[in-house]
Symmetry: C2
Subunit: 317 residues, 2 copies
């Protein structure tokens, strides 16, 4: 596993090559209609088109492929109710090793089905963090599998950094680049990629008001874990990881929050004007831009559309 200081421009470019067979180089899209509303030039990086429907495919693939043969052989494990579970199951399946996924019994059927489709083995547990951690310990002890956490992990962060790397490799010049922040894997990776490939680009984290531990931690200069989380952006309800906090403190320019109402309005614009299916978490950066139009006026603004795994029966409009 990488240590701090070992991620640099060279290692991010290497990570992109390492995962090339496992992920898409996702397209960039623009919308003149949304530009007009926002008053700036928006460039959207479409990770909703990524394998498993979210950027998580990158970090999971990078972490799994980097494992030495001696560690790979017993498989990988994680606890997750979301996109990381499917991403890890898929990455493991691609290189022919087992994936053991501890999921809360309350996880949506669609998420469980996705993990099973990629050949992951599900272990259901009670829907508490304690039960998940116990479940994971038991799986790791039983099978000797390597735990790959969803965000608080150097190789996962290095993998997520390949997303912004692709933007900069496309010779796109950005004043600002926004990514949503939950555990901080994508935001930390994005900030590192900008630091090494486009230091003039300011990276901003976008967070729901109802789960604003990243903003509070960022302002306080120390991690303040979430006491409770309440937002429609169900991919962002986790506390910032430790490594993630260190990187974000150093390399992120700001973290801005928005209400669920603003998230839903931005999500609706993406559906109506861009014809893209995105999950609520994915709409948080656009909501931040629309709430702070004056700040972004006339700028070249990149937005990472993080994923498109949404329950169609529960769209908020």
């Amino acid at each position: 596993m990488k240590q701090e200081g070992e991620i640099d421009s060279h290692s991010i470019a290497e990570a992109r090559e390492r995962i090339d067979a496992f992920v898409h180089w996702t397209p960039l899209m623009r919308s003149s209609a949304i530009n007009k509303i926002a008053g700036c030039e928006l460039i959207f990086k479409c990770e909703n088109f990524q394998k498993v429907g979210a950027f998580k495919a990158r970090g999971a693939a990078n972490a799994v492929v980097k494992l030495p043969a001696s560690q790979r052989k017993n498989g990988v494990a994680t606890h997750s109710s979301g996109n990381h579970a499917a991403a890890l199951a898929r990455a493991a399946s691609e290189i022919g090793i087992p994936a053991y996924i501890v999921m809360p019994s309350s996880a949506p059927e669609t998420k469980k089905r996705a993990v099973k489709e990629y050949g992951g083995q599900i272990f259901e547990c009670a829907p508490t963090l304690q039960a998940r951690e116990e479940g994971l310990r038991s799986v790791v002890a039983t099978y000797g599998a390597v735990f790959i956490p969803p965000y608080d992990h150097w190789d996962v962060i290095e993998g997520q950094a390949t997303c912004a790397f692709e933007i900069f490799e496309s010779s796109i010049s950005l004043d600002v680049l926004l990514a949503p922040v939950g555990g901080g894997g994508l935001l930390a990776g994005t900030a590192l990629a900008a630091h090494f490939f486009s230091p003039e680009t300011k990276v901003i984290g976008a967070e729901p008001e109802g789960a604003d531990d990243a903003r509070r931690s960022f302002l306080a200069g120390k991690r303040i874990p979430l006491q409770q989380a309440n937002s429609i952006a169900d991919g962002l309800l986790t506390s910032l990881g430790e490594i993630n906090f260190e990187i974000i403190s150093k390399h992120v320019g700001d973290i801005l929050t928005v209400s669920d109402k603003e998230i839903i309005a931005a999500m609706r614009l993406i559906y109506e004007r861009m014809k893209l299916v995105v999950e609520p978490s994915c709409a948080v950066p656009l909501a931040v831009v629309l709430r702070n139009k004056a700040q972004f006026q006339g700028q070249q603004v990149g937005i990472i559309l993080s994923g498109g795994n949404v329950d169609l029966a529960r769209l908020p409009f």
Copy 2:
């Protein structure tokens, strides 16, 4: 206005140049997940990303830009409750002439708003064909505007042909190319483009069972107008046009129908697996492929995703 025999490979390529400033060269997308389900190699032409959210932008732009100055000056007119209304209003606005749109009072607010946003002037009428035609006659008499019909018109068909032209220009080799059929503008244009640029490609029309006049006309060798139409594919509830029928009879290989249940299942796959917002009409060709898997087994199959203008509050899932 073009006459039969005047559309050829040269004129379609010219039309593409003529409308270049007004439309997108839309992307092609693939989905390994849907390929696995369908048992063939699908290539989707994403007209849901087109200006005004549908292929209709092409035909309207081509017809409007081709008008000589003497005819342009009093503007253009049509009656439509759908995408053609917005497309015509936008094309007219782009070249700075007025557009008069006769719309049934029952048309959805979103459609009216789209026409207004593009600067079109709306004349509401009772929701009958007779009232629409009377409204149109009155607008044409009052303003001296030129009537641009939605599909039964050579320049409109030539414009729609530029969509399949773009596929063949991308050096994509197809065994089959499917397009939905309502009035027949897109299907006729697609068939002409294949005839001139890829004669080995079989063009198939895809139609809802509840509005199957195109299939019945195709089999009978004469136009059989719809007596009644009932399908979720609200863009396809019109009878085949006259010119459209002539072209389709000559150059289309087959017309296949599907049920609304099959349309909804295909639409759901496009949302879930491709992360694309499409309207029900747009899912009809994929539904045809999934209903007739044996026929398409192992082939290279092109599908035109015709549009993405859907009422998000009324998604059928």
